[in-house]
Amino acid sequence: MLKVWNRYRHNLLAVSGLAFILLLIVIAIFARQIAPHNPYTMSTAARLTGPSSSHWFGTDQFGRDILSRIIYGSRISLQVGIIAVGFSFIVGTVMGVIAGYSGGWVDSLISRITDVLFALPDILLALVIMAILGPSLNNLMLAIGIVYTPIFSRIARGAVLNIRDSLYIEAAYSMGVKKIKILWHHILPNILSPLIVQVTLSFAFAILSEAALSFLGLGVSPDTPSWGIMLSSAKDWMELSWWTAVFPGIAITLAVFSFNSVGDGLRDVLDPRTGTGN
Amino acid sequence: MNDDLLLDVRHLKAYFRSKQRTVKAVDDLSFTLKKGEILGLVGESGCGKSTTTKALLRLIGNQRKEYLEGEAFFEGEDLIKKSDKQMQKIRGNKIGFIAQNPMSSLNPVFTIGNQIAEVPQMHQRAAKNKAWSIALKMLQKVGISDHETRAKQYAHQFSGGMKQRAVIAMALAGNPSLLIADEPTTALDVTIQAQILDLMVKLRDETQAGVLLITHDLGVVAEVCDRVAVMYAGKIVEQAPVDELFHHPQHPYTKGLLASMPKIGSRKKLIPISGHPPNLYEMQGGCLFQERCPFAFDRCKNVEPPLHKIAENHQSACHLSSERMNSF
C-alpha cells in the first residue's frame, strides 16, 4: 500500500487531482459551514448581479448566490458521479466478467443484452427511464447507472477475453486453483486498468448527463443546487450574465480534470510494471 | 588504414540516463570488421549487443537521456558525427539492419512487398512499379516460394521463418555494404534456422558485404562466422577468429560459456557460470567478471584489465591471459 502511494506521490498531476477531489469532498461535507450564503435564499434586489465582494461568483436569476450553489452543488455532482458510475462499474463489470469468463450461451446472452442497450442512444434511454421512474436524485443515478452499464460490460468482457487465455491463468488452473479464485485473484486485478480509464471518463459523462437531463427537464428537483441544473438554466442567461454559465462550467471542468488525472495516475500505479523509475 | 576495413569502432560508449541512475549499456567498446567478413558478437542477454547496433545506426543518441560517445568509422566516415539527415541516407541503404525480433519488426498493416519496396523508393527514388519489382526480386532471393502472391500478403499471414526472411529481404533491398543482424534466428526452428544462415552466407559470398552477426548461440557462431567478439557487461572481453576462440579460449567468461553448452552425445554434467551478470548501473572498479570468475585474484578487484593482444588476431581482456603473455 505504502509502495503504491510512494509511486503515486511522484505523479504531480495525479496528486493535484486527488487533492482537488479531496477538497471537493470536504466542501461537499461541510457545505453548510463553508458556503457564504444560503443557496436557496432568493433576493429580488440582487438578481443577476455580477461577481462582487458579497457574491464572489455573482447571483443567478433569483438572486441566489452562485458560489454557495456551486458549493452545495458539489454534493449532487459527486454523488451522481460516484454512485451512478459506481453502479454501472460494478454491474457492468460483473456482467462482462461473467460473459467473458464463462463463454458459450451465457456470453451470447449477456453480449446481446449489452448490444441492445448499447444501440439505444444513451440520452433517449436515460430519458425513458427517468420518465418511468420520475425525477429524483436516486432515480437519476439509477438511470445514468443503467445507461453506462453496457460500456463497462463490454470493456470488461474484452479485457477478460484478452487475459483469459494468458499463461498465468492457465498456470493457476493447472495448479488446482479453483475457477472462482482465479476470477478474483487473477482476472479482476488485471482487467482493472481499462476499466479505471473508463470510470474516469464516465464520471465526466455522468455529471454531464445530469446536466443534459436537467436541460430536457428531467433532472433532480429544479431548486436543488446541482452543477448540471445550474448550467442548463444558465444557458439562457449566457448572453446577459456570463457568470451564471461560466462558474458552474469551471467547477465541472475542474472536477472532470481531477478525476481523469487520478484515473491516469491510478492506472500507472496499480500496474507494478510501470510507475517505477522516472 | 586498411583498404579492406569496412567498420572501425573505437571507444564507443552508449549510456542510458535517468534521474536515479545511468545504465552503461555499452562502455568503451572497440572492434573492426572487414569487407566480406562475418563477425560474430556473442554474449549473454543484456550485455549490450543490441545497444551496440543501435548506436552504430544512431537509433539512439537523439534523446536527452541517451548518451553516445566514441567513433565508428564506416567506409572511412564517422557515423557518430553524422547529422540525422545524413544518417537517414545511410540507414537501409549502405547499412542493412535485421532487428532482433522479426515477428514484430514487420508493420502489420502494410503488405510485405510494400514494406520492401519502400527501401528503393526512399533511397533510389525508384518509381512504384520499379520498386515493386525489386521487392519481388528480393523475396525470391531470400527463397520465398510463390513470391508474387506472398508479396501482397501481410505479416500475420507469414510464418516465423518467412517473416525473418522478409526482414532480411528488406535489409538487403538497398544493396548494403554492411549488414547488421541482431539475433536473426533466435526465435526459429533449427531447420529454418539452417536455411536462413545458409542464405546469409551465400549473400555475403555474392556481394562481399560485411556482416555483424549478433547471437548468443555459439553453435551458430561456429557455423557461419569468420571472427568472434565476446561481449560481457558492455565491453568486449575477447576477440579472435572462430577456430582460435573455440579451441583456445582465453577469457574465463568465454571458457565458461563454452562449458555451459550441452553437446550432443556428451552426457557430462554442464558447468554453468555461477552468479549473475553485474548491474550495468552499479559497477565498481576492477574486472567486471571477477565476482563470477573462479580464477579471480587481488588485481582483478582493483584494476580493470585492458583488451590485450595475445596472438595475431586474438585479444582478451583478462589479467591472467596478459600475464601469461608477459611470462612468455
Binding site: 432568493m42 433569483f62 420518465a131 433532472g219 428537483s221 429544479p222 444557458k235 446577459l240 | -
Partner: protein, 499 residues
C-alpha cells in the same frame, strides 16, 4: 401597461402608409404544430399554423379584445330567445381547390367538430342545422348559449371542405381543406411550413403577402438571435427575458398586450390540509404576486389579485382581494385551521420553465409562513395526466382563457366540470355559471360573472398569480400584424412587408 408608447406611435404612423404587395414573411414559434386538423388540435401552439388556411364564420376583431366580428358570415340574425341563429354567407367564397364554400360545408363542418370530440361541448346545445339555400345556415339551439358567437369565432372551429376531408380518409392532419387567405404549400415538420397567397380569397385585395413561412425554433437564444439577425420577421411568443433583450435590439419592434394566458397555483381541495378553506386562503395571502412577477416574469405580467379575468377585459371584476402579501394574516389563518406550525406539501410542475421557476420562488415564499414545499417536476405528459386524475396537492399551471367569461369558468370551476382538476365545488357558483351561459343580456351577464368570480376567489381553489403579456417581436418592415391576447395570427391576411 405597455411601455412602448414611442413605438406605438410608430404603429399609428404606419396606418398612413400604403400597403405594399408581395414578399415572404417568416414567423417563428416555439414548437411546431402537432398536426393540421383544426377540429382535432388541442394545443394552442398548433392553432397558429392552421388558422390562416381556414375561414371561420366569425372572428375576433383585430385590436379589440373580446369583440366578435363577422368573417364568412356577411349578415346574421339571432332570435330573441337566443335559440335560432340565421347566418347568411358571402356568396363568393371558394375553397383552395376551387370548390365554392356553401351552407352545406358549414353544416358538415359543425357536425365534424361534434364528431371529433375535442370541442364538441361548445356545440352541445345544437338541436339542428338547416341549409335552406346555398348561402344560408340556420342553427337551432336547445337553449340559449350566450358565448355561442365566441365559439363560432374560435379559429379552430373552421369551415372545412367535405370533398377534401373525404379524399383524405377523414383525416386532415397533413392536408389543407380550407378557404383561408393562405394555402398550404409544404409542411416539413420541425423545419418549416410554407403557405402561399390564396389568389382567389374572397376578401378583395387581400392578402398582401405572397408567402408565409412558419418555423419552429425551440431554443430561446437561437430564436432571439435569429430575429436580431433578421433571419425572421416575427418572433411570435417572447419569454420575459427575450422581451427584455429585444426591446433594445435595433430594427426590431416588440409589441405587448395583456394576454389571456393566466397562471395559478392549483390547490386540490380534496387533499389533506387543503380541504380547509382557511389553509387555501392562507396560501393565497402568503404568496407575493408582485415579487413573483418580478422574479419570474421580469415584472411584465399583470398580477391577478382577484380572479382570472385580466384587467382590460370586458368582464374584469375589479376584484382586489389579495392586494398585498400578508404573512401575518396567513399565519393566523393557518393557526385557525389547526396548523400553527405549518405543514409539508408537494408542489407538482411540468416542464414549462416559467412555472418551474415560479415553483422555486413560491417554495421560498411559503416557507415564511411555515409551509414546507417539496417541488416535484414531471415530464409534461405525466404531469397533465396526474392533473387530470387529481393526483396532486399543489400545482402551478396555466390556462389560455380566450375570450368569453364562460371559457374562463364553466369547465374549470363548475362541479364536475371537464377540467375541474382542483375538485372544487360550490353550489352557488354552479348556479351562477349555468345562468351566465344562457343569459344574453351583457350587463346582467357581467353581474353574474362578477359575483361568481368573487365567490371563487374567496374559496381559493386556486391562487391566481398573473395574466401573461403576449409579446411579439417584429422587424420594422412588418406592418399590420395584430398582437392579439389570444396569440391568434389571423391578422396575417392584412399584414404587409415594407421594402
Amino acid at each position: 401597461s405597455s411601455g412602448n408608447s414611442a413605438k406605438e406611435s410608430g404603429t399609428s404612423a404606419e396606418a398612413d402608409q400604403k400597403p405594399v404587395y408581395g414578399g415572404t414573411l417568416t414567423i417563428a414559434d416555439l414548437n411546431d404544430a402537432k398536426g393540421l386538423d383544426p377540429h382535432k388540435e388541442t394545443s394552442a401552439q398548433s392553432f397558429h399554423y392552421i388558422e390562416n388556411m381556414y375561414d371561420t364564420l366569425f372572428r375576433y376583431k383585430d385590436g379589440k379584445y373580446g369583440v366578435i366580428d363577422k368573417d364568412l358570415v356577411n349578415d346574421y340574425t339571432i332570435s330573441k330567445d337566443g335559440k335560432t341563429y340565421t347566418l347568411h354567407l358571402h356568396d363568393n367564397v371558394k375553397f383552395h381547390n376551387g370548390d365554392p364554400l356553401t351552407s352545406a360545408d358549414v353544416k358538415y363542418s359543425i357536425e365534424r367538430i361534434i364528431k371529433m370530440g375535442v370541442r364538441a361541448q361548445q356545440f352541445d346545445a345544437v338541436k339542428s342545422i338547416d341549409t335552406p339555400d346555398k348561402t344560408t345556415v340556420v342553427i337551432t339551439l336547445k337553449q340559449a348559449v350566450a358565448p355561442f358567437l365566441t365559439f363560432l369565432a374560435n379559429p379552430m372551429n373552421a369551415i372545412v371542405n367535405k370533398t377534401i376531408v373525404e379524399k383524405n380518409g377523414g383525416k386532415l392532419d397533413q392536408a389543407d381543406a380550407g378557404s383561408g387567405p393562405f394555402t398550404l404549400v409544404s409542411w416539413k415538420k420541425d423545419q418549416e411550413m410554407v403557405l402561399k397567397k390564396n389568389k382567389s380569397y374572397f376578401k378583395k385585395g387581400l392578402p398582401y403577402l405572397d408567402k408565409v413561412v412558419f418555423k419552429a425554433i425551440p431554443d430561446s437564444t437561437a430564436r432571439s438571435t435569429a430575429i436580431r439577425n433578421k433571419e425572421l420577421n416575427i418572433d411570435l411568443q417572447l419569454t420575459a427575458k427575450d422581451k427584455m433583450l429585444l426591446d433594445h435590439a435595433s430594427g426590431v419592434t416588440v409589441k405587448s398586450v395583456t394576454g389571456t394566458y393566466w397562471e395559478y397555483i392549483g390547490l386540490n381541495v380534496t387533499k389533506g390540509p387543503l380541504k380547509k378553506k382557511e389553509v387555501r386562503d392562507a396560501i393565497s395571502w402568503a404568496v407575493d404576486r408582485n415579487a413573483l412577477n418580478k422574479q419570474v416574469k421580469f415584472g411584465q405580467a399583470t398580477p391577478l389579485t382577484g380572479g382570472p379575468i385580466p384587467p382590460g377585459h370586458a368582464y374584469d371584476a375589479k376584484l382586489d382581494t389579495f392586494s398585498k402579501r400578508d404573512t401575518a394574516k396567513a399565519k393566523q389563518l393557518l393557526a385557525d385551521a389547526g396548523y400553527p406550525d405549518g405543514f409539508s406539501i408537494t408542489l407538482k410542475v411540468g416542464q414549462n420553465q416559467d412555472q418551474v421557476d415560479a415553483a422555486q420562488v413560491i417554495k421560498d415564499q411559503l416557507k415564511a409562513v411555515g409551509i414546507n414545499v417539496k417541488i416535484e417536476q414531471q415530464e409534461d405528459s405525466v404531469f397533465f395526466n396526474a392533473l387530470g386524475k387529481k393526483q396532486f396537492e399543489m400545482t402551478i399551471v396555466g390556462w389560455v382563457g380566450f375570450v368569453d367569461p364562460d371559457e374562463f369558468f364553466y369547465n374549470i370551476f363548475h362541479t364536475g366540470g371537464a377540467y375541474n382538476q382542483q375538485g372544487y365545488t360550490n353550489k352557488e357558483v354552479d348556479k351562477l355559471l349555468e345562468e351566465g351561459r344562457v343569459t344574453m343580456d351583457e350587463a346582467k351577464r357581467k353581474q353574474i360573472y362578477d359575483h361568481a368570480q368573487k365567490l371563487i376567489v374567496e374559496d381559493a381553489p386556486m391562487v391566481f398569480l398573473y395574466a401573461n403579456k403576449q409579446s411579439t417581436a417584429m422587424t420594422n418592415t412588418v406592418h399590420g400584424f395584430d398582437v392579439n391576447p389570444t396569440v391568434t395570427t389571423k391578422s396575417l391576411e392584412s399584414t404587409w412587408l415594407s421594402k
